[in-house]
Symmetry: C2
């Protein structure tokens, strides 16, 4: 069986996972703002967290909890308050949040992880969570994945979820996930929260290895504005319900089907984040090839994807390709100007570092499409990288000028 | 005599320098787009150029010319076309531009430098320069500095020029300069062109040393959007007309007054660029102190100054300080979250990594001012840095979405 997409897939497309999303009064005006994902039995787990040096309280909490024991039964996520830059009190709030979930589900608090997203520097309204978490536990259901994906949104305009089915070691296995963006999106990690669930059976070290590989090709290849948040968290939970011996070697042939399914789900969610970047009107793929090495290619692709001048030109439909080469030029990657080539979509604009005699109207037409691919060939080596982003629009400024007000 | 500002100062405030600005038809609609600065005798010269690896033709030309002989008699600058990514033909155009100036002035072509700013990837309209350069040479005058400063503008909303007078080794010396911004502004260098003239007498190596020090504290401390252009060039010309023996040691006590005057002019021009950043509605000073070292402080200050989320919050008058700490956190500088403190203007918002009980209205009032200072104290060491920038506004998007159209 090849990989199969499940229509309307979510985390609860995975057998053995329940989810819910409720409004507990953190967001103003009221909207769903509390999600719960729970497994019927403890799951092997792995996590990837922000590299920001002001990690939010839930990041500190989860890292410590996973280090102590990589088995998890539930994840609670609130939107509207990041619980970041809140000191020891914030850490105590994260701990209480996990405890409330454990009480509601009747599981040990060590088996609960938490995530928060929203405004930095504000304490969690614990009195609302004390009421909301039992409600969310009550609301858990085997088709609650869509409600959970909706409850973790902040400036996202739509929920992001998907699921695929494949065969791992002779058993049908499902991988389903959900994520939220949509500003402060940048590699290592994108500012985002995501939960991926599977019924595959694998040890925590195998999950950790597979998750990190998938992240390198998905969430770490997406950028909206170059800002890496204090809260980025991606968790992978595997309940083993598909029923077979645990995978114990990430490089074993039977792990490859699971690795592939994970990557497909992660890429889908990461692209969904860029597509729904704050104010986005274009989904942009930046491909750099012919770089001296992969690190160089990535550096160049990220510089192009983060350049406000490139992003505003795409928004305006202006095929101002000079800004693309300019961004490559300051990215720090090795360049021989006389070898550079550039395409907007299929249209070649530059070869040998000089403009070709292309048709401006055709170039502008490429930018009329909602999806734009920019390809740069540096002509130096075999290094390749792809980064996804969106354009920079008036709406981005609208959203972020008054985020708290 | 202390340092004295000259009202309405420009490059032609410096004895022995002439300048002009004319419209030669590169900009559409027609506007002044060609500036000439000329000295009555050859000047010792120094230059600092973009680090972008797609350097524009005039950058390649000037670097080679200065390396061959650091004596310069004229600088020609056009706006409207960057002559970047134009290959060997572009380099030939830059050479012809210098030759046209030399013919007009009757000086050797090796004594002429050129600069260009504008759209990348388009050849210079040489037929217009062949007519315009003789006109600019004809128009040279001892009060042409203001016209020259106006002719080098692109999206700048106002010309940028200043001059100061000081005493160097017992002689009255003048330092005058002009610059243009105003998008693609980022340290190393800001995207900018600038010419600074002085009648001090100094050898080219002394000028080079003093210029590099001044740039470190001025143009390299300003950022608008993090984009480093293909064309950034800063030239310093010293005609020695103040009449004394050449300074031959940049560290000699008598060089200090010149160093100070140079720095004051460079800082004024750099700040003028940030104040007039594309679409700017606020001038923002980001000060980081208490960092583990100066490099860390600079890294953190630049990350804050470049964060689209910080810049849009300032535009919107929203004192969302969490975004400031978040940017520090991903800058790569060393951080102990429990020691961080933060101020907007004089108002303390954070101490020990946690929000203080400040008045939101007072914090918002700070952002009502046209000039905003954000101070971060990391509480770790003696590292300090200051970076100037502007906010990110709807107008920035307007300007850059349709720059070429």
């Amino acid at each position: 069986m090849a990989l199969e997409w499940l229509a309307g897939g979510t985390v609860t497309s995975v057998p053995g996972f329940l989810a819910s999303g409720v409004a507990c009064g953190i967001k103003r005006p009221a909207a769903p703002d509390l999600a719960l994902v729970a497994a019927e039995r403890p799951c092997a787990a792995a996590g990837v967290f922000t590299t920001n040096r002001f990690p939010a309280a839930p990041v500190l909490y989860d890292r410590a909890a996973l280090a102590a024991s990589p088995y998890v039964q539930a994840v609670a996520i609130n939107a509207g308050c990041a619980n970041a830059c809140t000191g020891d009190e914030g850490l105590a709030d994260a701990r209480e949040m996990a405890g409330l979930v454990a009480s509601g589900l009747g599981c040990p608090p060590e088996a609960v992880l938490v995530m928060s997203t929203g405004v930095i520097g504000v304490r969690l309204p614990m009195e609302r969570l004390r009421v909301g978490i039992p409600q969310a536990a009550q609301a858990l259901s085997a088709d609650g994945g869509a409600a959970a994906a909706r409850a973790i949104m902040t400036t996202d305009t739509r929920p992001k979820a998907c699921a695929v089915r494949t065969v791992v070691g002779g058993r049908v296995v499902t991988v389903g996930g959900m994520a939220k963006g949509s500003g402060m999106i940048h590699p290592n990690m994108a500012t985002m929260l995501a939960v991926i669930a599977t019924d595959a059976a694998a040890t925590p070290p195998v999950l950790d290895a597979l998750l990190r590989r998938a992240v390198g090709r998905s969430f770490n290849a997406v950028t909206v504005d170059g800002d890496t948040s204090t809260n980025d968290t991606l968790l992978l939970l595997a309940n083993g319900a598909a029923g077979r011996a645990e995978l114990s070697d990430p490089d074993a042939p039977e792990a490859q089907a699971l690795a592939e399914a994970l990557e497909v789900v992660a890429v889908h969610l990461a692209q969904a984040i860029a597509r729904d970047g704050e104010g986005a009107s274009h989904f942009v793929t930046v491909r750099v090839r012919g770089a001296a090495g992969e690190a160089d290619a990535r550096r160049a692709a990220k510089a192009v994807a983060n350049s406000p001048l490139v992003k505003t030109a795409i928004y305006g439909g202006d095929p101002n390709w000079g800004r693309v080469l300019c961004a490559v030029g300051y990215s720090g990657c090795a360049v021989d100007p006389a070898r550079a080539a550039l395409w907007f979509g299929e249209l070649a604009l530059v070869a040998g570092g000089r403009p070709l005699d292309y048709d401006e109207k055709q170039a502008a037409a490429v930018l009329q499409q909602p999806e734009v691919t920019i390809t740069v060939d540096l002509g130096l080596g075999a290094g390749e990288a792809t980064v996804w982003t969106c354009d920079l629009t008036h709406r981005y400024v609208d959203i972020n000028a008054h985020y708290r007000t």
